[in-house]
């Protein structure tokens, strides 16, 4: 089953978790996402690079109190794609519910 707005790039489980976290925040520290999802830095960097290449996330490198921080945020395009994806998931669930025999 598929629905309009379904985004295969976002749907991959790790990326879905990353985007769902980012959708609730203006920005998020790289370390927060890494710790929440229990990923290695390289694994998270790889997923973020994929999302960044698609234009879904923006990555900002900052120097704060002599510490390097990496802030990640969802772009407008990413926000819209995520919302469309969630709508598509809901539609799939609703359609399946409608099709269930009584």
């Amino acid at each position: 089953m598929s629905a309009e707005g379904f985004d295969e790039l976002i749907h991959q489980s790790t990326r879905l978790s990353i985007v769902a976290l980012l959708a609730a925040a203006d920005w998020m520290d790289f370390a927060f996402i890494r710790d929440e999802l229990g990923l290695s830095e390289s694994a998270l960097s790889k997923q973020l690079s994929t999302l960044e290449a698609a234009g879904y996330v923006a990555i900002e490198r900052l120097l704060s109190n002599h510490r390097r921080r990496v802030h990640v945020k969802l772009t407008q395009q990413g926000q819209e794609a995520f919302q469309a994806h969630v709508r598509a998931l809901r539609e799939i669930v609703a359609t399946a519910g409608d099709a269930t025999p009584a």
Partner: protein, 156 residues
């Protein structure tokens, strides 16, 4: 390319989305330094009220109020409990700020009431005792108040 998934997979994905969103909602709160600053400021005003002249107590109360009024707008939204993320404004809502302001006002009344009660009871330093009691409530209860399921559910 068309990707097909079952409705069970779609449901599982929606559960993941909801869980991640709730995790961010859990981050709504005020930074630890705010509660410590509020508690220490409260005690300072209590000490000045008991050991200083009346004008010093009035000045300390005014200064404390002014500093607090300056700090609250920056942190009371609850969106920056830590430096690790900024919760979206629409998720944090205005409830956190309203709860904080009402709680501080209520604690002010409690402090005055407790101070009078202690004074009537013959306590030597009623303002200091009352302010320490309220400061303890602030440190123990402040973070818990904002972590209450009631506030979380309404933010969600």
């Amino acid at each position: 390319m068309e990707h097909t998934i079952t409705h069970e997979e779609a449901e599982a994905a929606l559960v993941t989305v909801d869980r991640r969103r709730r995790r961010v909602v859990e981050e709504i709160g005020l930074p630890g330094w705010y509660w410590w600053g509020l508690a220490l400021g409260w005690i300072a005003v209590g000490v000045v009220s008991d050991v200083g002249p009346a004008w010093a107590a009035a000045a300390a109360t005014l200064i404390f109020g002014a500093v607090h009024a300056n700090v609250v707008p920056r942190v009371a939204s609850g969106r920056h409990r830590t430096q690790q993320l900024s919760v979206k404004a629409e998720l944090a809502g205005r409830r956190t700020a309203v709860v904080v302001v009402l709680a501080v006002a209520a604690l002010g009344l409690v402090t005055v009431g407790a101070g009078f009660a202690l004074y009537a009871d013959g306590a030597r330093d009623p303002s200091i005792i009352a302010s320490i009691l309220v400061a303890t409530v602030i440190l123990l209860g402040g973070p818990r108040l904002l972590a209450s399921p009631w506030l979380r559910e309404r933010s969600g």
